[in-house]
C-alpha cells in the first residue's frame, strides 16, 4: 500500500512480502487478521538446510514450526537404534502447529533429503506477537481441534478396521 513518489523499477520483492503470501495460504495462519499475519511474516526466519542436515532430532525441545518452501524432508523414529521411516514432507507443507502452542519434546526426527529452504517461527516470538491479538487464540485452537479430529477420523476410516491393537488406543480427539 506504499505509494512512493519515485518509480520503483526494481522487480525485487522483499522476503517479508513473500512470507506474508505464504502464511496466508497456511490453514493455521489464514484465520488471523491481516495485522497479526504481518507481524508473524516479519518475525519468520528463512533457514537453509543441506541434504542430510537435521531440522530437529528426537527428544529435542525444538520450539518452532516449519513451512517447507523448497526441498523435501524425511520423518523417522528411532526404535531400538534403528531408523523407522514414518513419511516424507514435501514443498508447501506446514508442520509443528502444536509446538507453537506449548512445550514438548520431539517424538520424531526430521532430516533433509535434499537441500531445503524452510520458513520457521519460534514459539517465543509467536506467543509474544499474539499477546496483542487476544481474540486470535480461539481461532487457532479451532484449527488445532480440526486437525486432531480430522486425523482421528481418517485413522478410523483407514486403519482401525484392520488393526485391533490400534483400536484400543483410539481416542486422541477425546483427550
Amino acid at each position: 500500500m506504499n505509494s512512493n513518489t519515485e518509480k520503483n523499477n526494481d522487480a525485487t520483492t522483499c522476503e517479508y512480502t513473500e512470507n506474508l503470501n505464504i502464511l496466508r495460504q497456511v490453514d493455521f495462519f489464514s484465520a488471523l487478521p491481516l495485522e497479526a499475519a504481518k507481524v508473524l511474516a516479519y518475525l519468520c526466519h528463512r533457514i537453509h538446510f543441506k541434504a542430510g542436515d537435521f531440522l530437529f532430532k528426537q527428544d529435542d525441545e525444538d520450539e518452532q514450526a516449519y513451512y517447507i518452501i523448497s526441498g523435501s524432508a524425511r520423518l523417522f523414529k528411532i526404535i531400538a537404534d534403528r531408523e523407522q521411516v514414518v513419511r516424507d514432507y514435501e514443498e508447501g507443507e506446514f508442520l509443528g502447529r502444536l509446538a507453537l502452542m506449548g512445550a514438548m519434546r520431539r517424538l520424531f526426527s526430521l532430516r533433509a533429503r535434499t537441500d531445503m529452504t524452510c520458513l520457521t517461527i519460534s514459539r517465543e516470538k509467536f506467543t509474544k506477537a499474539l499477546e496483542r491479538f487476544p481474540d486470535v487464540m480461539p481461532k487457532l485452537v479451532k484449527v488445532i481441534v480440526e486437525n486432531v479430529y480430522g486425523w482421528e477420523k481418517r485413522f478410523m476410516a483407514y486403519r482401525a478396521v484392520d488393526c485391533s491393537d490400534c483400536f484400543k488406543e483410539l481416542g486422541v480427539s477425546l483427550v
Binding site: 506504499n2 526494481d10 522483499c14 517479508y16 507481524v39 516479519y42 542436515d53 506477537a129 499477546e131 496483542r132
Partner: protein, 838 residues
C-alpha cells in the same frame, strides 16, 4: 563500653539523639549558649542607647553601643548558620546510620517475612520514612535548648520590668500546653494512618512493576488502575484531614500568643490610667513580649516535627521488629567443615495458618550419595529441600548435618558447606564474573584475612564453566566484544594472528557461513553505511552515528546521486516498520529484525505522518536526517521487510570507490579502510577473526562454527583470554540480558565454584535444553559423585535413573523411596508419575 548494642529495630528515637556524634552535640550546646547571650545583648544595648547615650547626649557612647549592637547581630547570624550546619551534620549522620543498620537488619530477616512484604514497602521505609526521624535527631537538642533558654531570658526580663503584668501575659502559655497535645494526639493517629496508606501505595506500585508482564499479558490496566486510584484517593482524604489538624494546631497557637498583647493592653492600660505603670515601661514591655513569639513558634513547630518523626520512626521499627531465624556467624568457634552426612527425622513444617506442608518425614543420605526428590507439584518436595538448606525454619523434627541440628547452625556454617541452587535463581546486575564469584566472595569476606586463599583460580573457573555448559555462552560474549582503540594493542595483534590461521585452516570450509569483507562486493550482512565507507572512523565526526549530520558526507551523497534513493529507502523502511510493529509492545525480541529500536518507533511514526503530508515528498530537514540515519543502518541480510533495489546496490558499490578516492584526497586521516592486515576497531573480535560477518544459518551450522572457533583459539592459545573478556559481560538488570537457561547454568556454576560438601538443586535444570541437562547430569553422576552429597528436586523423571535413592513425595509425606528400578518394579507412585494412572 563493650555492652552489646541494641539491635536497630529495638532502639528508640531518643537513643539516636544521645548516641549520634555526642562531641558535636556538646559543641552545639556551647554555641547555643553564646547565641542566647547575643540575643539579649541587643535588647540591653537598645536600653542603653536610649537611657545613656541619647539622654546624656554622648555621641561616643552612641557609637560604641551601636557598634556592640552590630557585632551582636552579625555574630548572631553567623552562629545561626553554624548551628544549622552542625544540625545538618548530626541529622545526616543519624539518617545514614539508621538506614545502614536497618538495611543490614532487613537483609537478615527470614524468607517468610519477604513473602508477606512488598518490596515497595521496604523501599519507602528506607527512603521516605526515615529522613523525618533523621531530621528530628538533628534538631532534638539544639532547637529546644536554644528556644527554651531564649524564652527564659526574655521572661526574666519581663518579670524584671513588671512582675504582675509578666505573670498575667505568660499565663497564656500553660493553657496552650494543655490544649495542643489533645489536638496533636488526633493528628498522630491520622499520621499513623497516613504512613500506612503511603506504604500500601508504595507496595502496590512495587507489585505492579514486578508483575508488569502479567498486566500486559492480560490487558489488566483497568483493574490495576482501579486498585491504585482507590488507594490514592484514600491517601488524599487522610492527608487532607491530617493537614487540617496540623494547621489547626498552628492557628490555635497563633491565636493564643496574639491574645497576650491583648491582656497587656487591657491590664497595662488600666494600670497606666491608675498611674501605677509608666507609659514608657508599658511600651518596653510590649516590645519585649513580641520577642517571645519567635522562640515559642519554633518550639511548637519542633513539637510537631517530633510527633511526626516519632510516629513514622515507630511505625518503621515496629514493622521490621523481627529477629533473624539464625545467627549469622558462629560464636566462639570457626565455622564447621562438614563431611556431608544428612539425616532427616520426623520432620514437619506447618505454616502459621496451620497448613501441613511437610509431615513426619524421615530419610538419610550418606556422605557423597545422591537423592532425587520427585512428586506431583505441591507435594512439598521443594519445601523439603528448602528446610534442609535452612531457607525455611522447620516446625518439628530434626534435620541433622553430620549429626548437628541444622536449625541451630549459623548462616555461615550453612553457606560454607551447602550450595543451594533455586528454581528461578537470581542474577545480580554486574558482570558474569562477579555473579560467578558471588558465593565465594561472600564466604571469603567475613573470614578476615583469608580473602585470597579461598578464591578460585582462573583454571577452576574455566573448569566449572565447561562443566556447566555456560562456557560456550561466555565464549560468545567474549567474541562479540568490541575492543577499544586505546589499550588493547597487544590483544589486537593476537586477533590478527588468529585471523591468519583462520584463513589458512577454515577459510574455505566455512566460506559459505561467513560473508568476508570483500572490497568488490556488496555486503548483505553489513549496514549501508559500512558498505559505503568500508572502513572505521578515526575521528568522531566520521563515526556512523554522526555521519547523517556530517556536511562533508552529505555533500558526498549528493554528488554520488545517493541522497535521494537513500532518503526513499529510509521512508520505505519507516513506513513498513510502523505499519508492522506500530501496535506491538516495545519488546527487544520483537524488534530483533527491525532497523528501528523499540524506543524510536514513536518518533518514526510521527516522521512517517509528516512525510506523507509533505509536498513533493520532501520532508523537513530534521526528518530527513532521521530517515537517512535509518537508511544507513539498513542491513538487507537481517532487515527483511524491504528489499534493497538492485540499482541502489550498484550505486552504493560505486559510491564506495568514490568515497575512498574523495576522502583519501581531502582528509586522509579521517577513515581507515578495512584491510586484511589490520585490526578493525569498530567490529567485534569475532568479525575481526573472520574478517567478515556471520550469515544467518541453521543451528547445526552454528555448532560447526563454534567447534572451529574453539579449535582455532586453543591452537593460538587464545581461548582463556577470550573467556576472560567474556566474563566481563554485563548481564543487565536481574540478568535480563541472559536467557533463562544461561541464568540457570550461571547459578549452578556459582554453587559448584564453592565446592560445597552438600549440594541442593531445587529444579535447577528445568530451563535447560536436553544437551545441557545431560551434561550437568553426567557431571553430578561422575565427577561430583562421592565428593558432594546431592539432593536434587526433580521435575523431569528421565534424569533420575542413576540416583542412589529416589523419594517420591505426595501431599507432604514420603510415599515411597528406593532406587528407580525398585520403585518402578513396585508399580506404585513413581510408576504412576512416569506412565500415568492405570
Amino acid at each position: 563500653m563493650k555492652t552489646e548494642p541494641l539491635p536497630v529495630h529495638k532502639r528508640t528515637l531518643w537513643s539516636w539523639v544521645l548516641t549520634t556524634r555526642p562531641k558535636l552535640q556538646f559543641l552545639l550546646i556551647f554555641i547555643i549558649l553564646i547565641t542566647v547571650f547575643t540575643r539579649v545583648v541587643p535588647l540591653e544595648m537598645q536600653k542603653r542607647v536610649v537611657n545613656e547615650a541619647i539622654y546624656l547626649r554622648k555621641v561616643d557612647l552612641l557609637l560604641i553601643y551601636c557598634g556592640i549592637y552590630l557585632v551582636a547581630v552579625i555574630s548572631q547570624g553567623a552562629l545561626k548558620l553554624l548551628i544549622n550546619y552542625i544540625q545538618a551534620m548530626i541529622a545526616q549522620r543519624a539518617l545514614s546510620a539508621m538506614r545502614q543498620e536497618l538495611y543490614h537488619h532487613i537483609l537478615t530477616l527470614p524468607l517468610d517475612f519477604f513473602r508477606k512484604t512488598q518490596p515497595g514497602l521496604v523501599v519507602s521505609a528506607l527512603t521516605t520514612e526515615l529522613p523525618v526521624a533523621g531530621n528530628f535527631v538533628g534538631m532534638a537538642i539544639s532547637v529546644p535548648v536554644t528556644n527554651v533558654l531564649t524564652l527564659l531570658a526574655f521572661a526574666v526580663y519581663l518579670f524584671w520590668l513588671n512582675p504582675l503584668l509578666a505573670a498575667v501575659s505568660l499565663s497564656i502559655y500553660p493553657m496552650v500546653m494543655i490544649i495542643l497535645p489533645l489536638l496533636q494526639r488526633r493528628a498522630n493517629q491520622l499520621n499513623t494512618r497516613r504512613v500506612d496508606a503511603t506504604r500500601a501505595m508504595a507496595g502496590k506500585i512495587g507489585e505492579a512493576v514486578t508483575g508488569i508482564h502479567e498486566i500486559h499479558g492480560n490487558g489488566a490496566y483497568r483493574i490495576e488502575n482501579t486498585k491504585f486510584d482507590g488507594m490514592v484517593n484514600k491517601l488524599e482524604k487522610i492527608r487532607l484531614i491530617w493537614t487540617l489538624y496540623t494547621q489547626a494546631i498552628k492557628t490555635i497557637n497563633n491565636f493564643f500568643t496574639n491574645l497576650s498583647p491583648f491582656l497587656v493592653f487591657l491590664l497595662g492600660g488600666y494600670l497606666a490610667m491608675k498611674g501605677q505603670l509608666e507609659l514608657g515601661a508599658m511600651i518596653a514591655f510590649l516590645s519585649a513580649q513580641e520577642k517571645l513569639y519567635t522562640p515559642w513558634k519554633e518550639l511548637i513547630e519542633m513539637y510537631q516535627v517530633y510527633q511526626d518523626a516519632f510516629v513514622q520512626y515507630n511505625r518503621t521499627m515496629e514493622y521490621f521488629d523481627r529477629e533473624p531465624d539464625y545467627a549469622l556467624e558462629p560464636i566462639d568457634r570457626q565455622p564447621y567443615a562438614v563431611r556431608g552426612d544428612i539425616a532427616v527425622q520426623n520432620l514437619s513444617f506447618v505454616t502459621e495458618e496451620g497448613i501441613h506442608l511437610l509431615d513426619d518425614i524421615s530419610l538419610s543420605i550418606g556422605q557423597g550419595q545422591n537423592l532425587a526428590l520427585v512428586g506431583f507439584s505441591g507435594s512439598g518436595k521443594s519445601t523439603l529441600a528448602q528446610c534442609i538448606g535452612q531457607l525455611y525454619r522447620y516446625t518439628g523434627g530434626h534435620v541433622l548435618l553430620d549429626g548437628k541440628e541444622v536449625a541451630e547452625l549459623s548462616k555461615k556454617d550453612m553457606t560454607r558447606n551447602v550450595g543451594f541452587v533455586s528454581q528461578s535463581p537470581f542474577i545480580f546486575s554486574g558482570t558474569i564474573r562477579e555473579n560467578l564469584l558471588y558465593g565465594c566472595l561472600a564466604n571469603a569476606d567475613a573470614g578476615q584475612g583469608g580473602k585470597t586463599d579461598r578464591m578460585p583460580s582462573l583454571d577452576d573457573i574455566i573448569a566449572v564453566l565447561q562443566q556447566t555448559g555456560i562456557f560456550v555462552d561466555v565464549l560468545r560474549f567474549g567474541l562479540n566484544t568490541v575492543l577499544t582503540n586505546d589499550h588493547d594493542q597487544e590483544l589486537a595483534a593476537r586477533v590478527l594472528r588468529t585471523r591468519e590461521s583462520f584463513q589458512r585452516s577454515f577459510g574455505a570450509e566455512l566460506a559459505e557461513y561467513v560473508e568476508f569483507f570483500d572490497e568488490n562486493r556488496y555486503l548483505y550482512f553489513s549496514s549501508v553505511v559500512e558498505n559505503l565507507t568500508f572502513g572505521t572512523a578515526k575521528r568522531d565526526e566520521f563515526n556512523s552515528v554522526n555521519l547523517p549530520q556530517n556536511t562533508y558526507f552529505l555533500r558526498f551523497l549528493e554528488e554520488s546521486r545517493l541522497a535521494r534513493p537513500l532518503l526513499n529507502l529510509g521512508i520505505r523502511l519507516a513506513e513498513q516498520m510502523v505499519d508492522i510493529l506500530g501496535n506491538m509492545p516495545p519488546d527487544e525480541l520483537l524488534f530483533e529484525q527491525s532497523p528501528i529500536a523499540p524506543e524510536e518507533l514513536n518518533d518514526f511514526r510521527k516522521v512517517v505522518e509528516r512525510s506523507k503530508k509533505a509536498k513533493l515528498g520532501q520532508p523537513e530537514e530534521a526528518d530527513r536526517t532521521k530517515l537517512l540515519e535509518l537508511a544507513l543502518r539498513f542491513t538487507p541480510g537481517i532487515h527483511k521487510t524491504v528489499a534493497l533495489p538492485k540499482t541502489l546496490e550498484a550505486l552504493i558499490l560505486e559510491g564506495r570507490t568514490l568515497f575512498r578516492k574523495k576522502i583519501s584526497a581531502d582528509d586522509p586521516h579521517a577513515v581507515t579502510f578495512f584491510q586484511i592486515s589490520q585490526y578493525i576497531y569498530s567490529q567485534t573480535i569475532l568479525n575481526n577473526i573472520f574478517f567478515g560477518k556471520m550469515k544467518i544459518f541453521n543451528p547445526s551450522a552454528q555448532e560447526k562454527i563454534n567447534q572451529s572457533i574453539v579449535h582455532l583459539l586453543i591452537e593460538e592459545d587464545f581461548l582463556e583470554t577470550i573467556i576472560e573478556i567474556g566474563m566481563q559481560f554485563e548481564v543487565g538488570n536481574k540478568g535480563d540480558r541472559l536467557s533463562g537457561g544461561q541464568r540457570q547454568k550461571l547459578s549452578i556454576a556459582r554453587a559448584l565454584l564453592k565446592k560445597p560438601p552438600v549440594l541442593i538443586l531445587d529444579e535447577a535444570t528445568s530451563a535447560l535444553d536436553n544437551n545441557s541437562q545431560t551434561r550437568i547430569q553426567n557431571l553430578l553422576e561422575n565427577q561430583w559423585k562421592g565428593k558432594s552429597t546431592l539432593i536434587s528436586v526433580v521435575h523431569r523423571l528421565d534424569i533420575i535413573k542413576n540416583f542412589d535413592q529416589v523419594a517420591v513425595m505426595k501431599s507432604g509425606k514420603i510415599g515411597e523411596s528406593g532406587t528407580y528400578d525398585e520403585l518402578i518394579a513396585r508399580k506404585g507412585l513413581l510408576y504412576e508419575l512416569e506412565y500415568g494412572k492405570k
